[in-house]
């Protein structure tokens, strides 16, 4: 099962998904597509000039180009996923998009998604961390059983 994560560049979440036998969808994978694409003349820094326009699928022209550029990369990840696991209010070191507006919008996108998803608060203690890992694994197991 393809599982998208939030923040989409969280190595810890990606690792947790992978260890439970699923394919995590991450930014790193999405950006590497652009770097390796032979049709693109020189590897871009994160996005190509066209990506900002592609982001118009998610936000209007009035939204800043940086928000639209991010959404052009992250939006398709959540559309491709079979399920989504999100941790909100996490510290920068856990994974970060560098833009609070994009964070808000992506969390809204996940919340309104018809795909199975789980949105949890970032843990503040060891006990909470154990609970959250268990909740995520239970969620993934439920998805497996549904398959």
């Amino acid at each position: 099962m393809k599982v998208a994560i939030f923040p989409p560049n969280s190595l810890i979440l990606a690792d947790l998904i992978e260890r439970s036998g699923h394919e995590p969808l991450t930014i790193m994978k999405e950006l590497s597509v652009r770097v390796r694409d032979p049709e693109i003349d020189s590897p871009p820094l994160n996005i190509t000039p066209e990506d900002s326009s592609r982001g118009l699928k998610y936000a209007s022209a009035e939204a800043p180009s940086g928000v639209r550029g991010r959404l052009a990369v992250f939006g398709p990840i959540y559309e491709e996923a079979d399920a989504i696991v999100a941790l909100k209010n996490s510290p920068i070191s856990f994974g970060c998009l560098g833009c609070a507006r994009t964070n808000e919008f992506l969390l809204y996108m996940i919340h309104s998604s018809k795909k199975p998803h789980i949105i949890l608060e970032y843990p503040s203690s060891e006990e909470e961390t154990i609970c959250i890992v268990r909740e995520i694994l239970d969620f993934l197991k439920r998805m497996d059983n549904n398959d």
Binding site: S53, L56, A59, S60, A61, E62, A63, P64, V67, A100, R101, E104, F105, L107, Y108, I110, H111, S112, I119
Partner: protein, 409 residues
């Protein structure tokens, strides 16, 4: 008097609230602010999952929810935030989608600056008022009797004579003095129809000069162009029953209107930059040395990718085209690039604000330029319908709607 619910953030600190209320008053509408309890605001953020930082924006979503849930009654919604507010633009778009998916209240969006004046808001308010108050009129599908429609546009004035749901006369003249240009267009339309002004049962006017012409011709219907043009578009394209999107690029502005059962339910208007208008294509045709009527054919032979255009602006865009011509790029490629530039700008600035519904009906004088139709097809991956009389839709809509007033003083 209709009630327009204002769902906004920032108007009270931008010095424009008075302008909004005056514009509403001018169309006999009243601005109301949906009241919601404090708890409802936080609850809405939780339910929708859009947990923005600004409390004013949270309140916007709560107000929209109150309308959908029937806690507050309104006939239309004016949705507005400060121009260039990132959080505002993201949320405003989602509130618009939420309202359109969960209610049939007409919505218009606007991004304001400190210079927003009531005149800029007037056409939008007038259209909201028409959609909310004259649903019966807009639901009219057939033209009856002998009627005249006049569309006084910014670049051209068009006149149409219709009889028993058929176009029987057309007239067209570049707009100079409003009344004089209209007289010439009307005379041509009457002449081709073989009728006189006195024989007409009813007259309708629309476009920028609608009030002046309405007074001059003692018109039975004087109506803004958003509702009239959309009516004309669905009549000419024979799409009066389902959904449709109308792209109307005129001489100096552009409109995108979404339609459900022949009645517009949402729209967006350009008008900030003439680079997305027929004027840009007119200047291009002068530069490449062809008449505007030949630009379409020329552009279909070119490839826009061969031209480096860095700006959509009517000044800098033309400068780019001139530079490319001087560098040896073909006239065909330049014509194609101009068409693509207009279509791309309309796509980026107008079409993103509406939910595109098929079929797409392309109208206005520019719809006759083949390169522009192709550019829209390339960008949208949908072939637009260009109906017969596509350049006359305003006048046709006027002639059609005014037939509802036959027999009335």
């Amino acid at each position: 008097m209709i009630k327009i619910a204002q769902i906004s953030c920032g108007t009270e600190y931008s010095g424009i609230q008075n302008e909004i209320e005056k514009a509403a008053e001018m169309v006999n509408a009243k601005i109301i602010f949906p009241d919601v309890p404090l708890d409802y605001i936080g609850e809405t953020a939780e339910i929708t999952g859009f947990d923005v930082q600004s409390a004013g924006l949270k309140l916007m979503f709560a107000r929209a929810r109150a309308l959908v849930e029937g806690l507050v009654d309104a006939d239309a919604v004016f949705l507005t935030t400060c121009f260039r507010c990132a959080e505002g633009s993201l949320l405003k778009n989602e509130v618009r989608r939420y309202l359109q998916n969960n209610s049939d209240i007409p919505v218009v969006m606007y991004s304001f600056t400190q210079n927003t004046k009531r005149d800029e808001l007037l056409t939008r308010m007038e259209a909201l008022q028409t959609i909310a108050e004259k649903k019966q009129l807009l639901a009219r599908k057939r033209q009856e009797g002998l009627t005249l429609g006049i569309d006084s546009g910014s670049a051209t004035t068009k006149a149409i004579v219709m009889q028993d749901d058929e176009v029987i006369g057309t007239g067209w003249h570049p707009t100079q003095a409003v009344v004089l240009s209209a007289k010439k267009a009307v005379n041509d339309a009457l002449k081709t129809a073989g009728v006189t002004l006195k024989q007409l049962d009813s007259i309708g006017t629309t476009g920028y000069g609608r009030r002046t012409l309405g007074k001059h011709y003692k018109a039975n219907l004087i109506q803004e162009e958003l509702t009239v043009n959309s009516k004309g578009a669905v009549w000419t394209a024979d799409c009066q029953d389902g959904e449709a999107t109308v792209i109307d690029i005129g001489g100096m502005d552009n409109k995108v209107i979404t339609i459900n059962k022949g009645i517009p339910d949402s729209f967006t208007m350009g008008g900030i930059c003439a680079g997305a208008s027929g004027r840009f294509l007119e200047i291009t045709s002068n530069r490449v040395g062809v008449d505007i009527t030949e630009l379409g054919e020329l552009s279909l032979k070119g490839n826009h990718k061969n031209v480096n255009m860095a700006s959509y602006c009517i000044i800098f865009g033309i400068q780019d085209l001139v530079t490319e011509l001087a560098a040896g790029v073909s006239r065909e490629d330049v014509a194609a690039a101009a068409c693509y530039s207009v279509a791309e700008q309309v796509y980026e600035q107008q079409l993103q604000e509406v939910d595109i519904r098929e079929p797409i009906i392309q109208v206005g004088g520019t719809s006759l330029i083949g390169g522009l139709n192709k550019a829209f097809e390339d960008i949208l991956k949908i072939k637009p319908i260009v109906p017969k009389y596509s350049q006359f839709i305003g006048a046709i809509g006027g002639a059609l709607l005014t037939s509802a007033y036959i027999g009335e003083e």
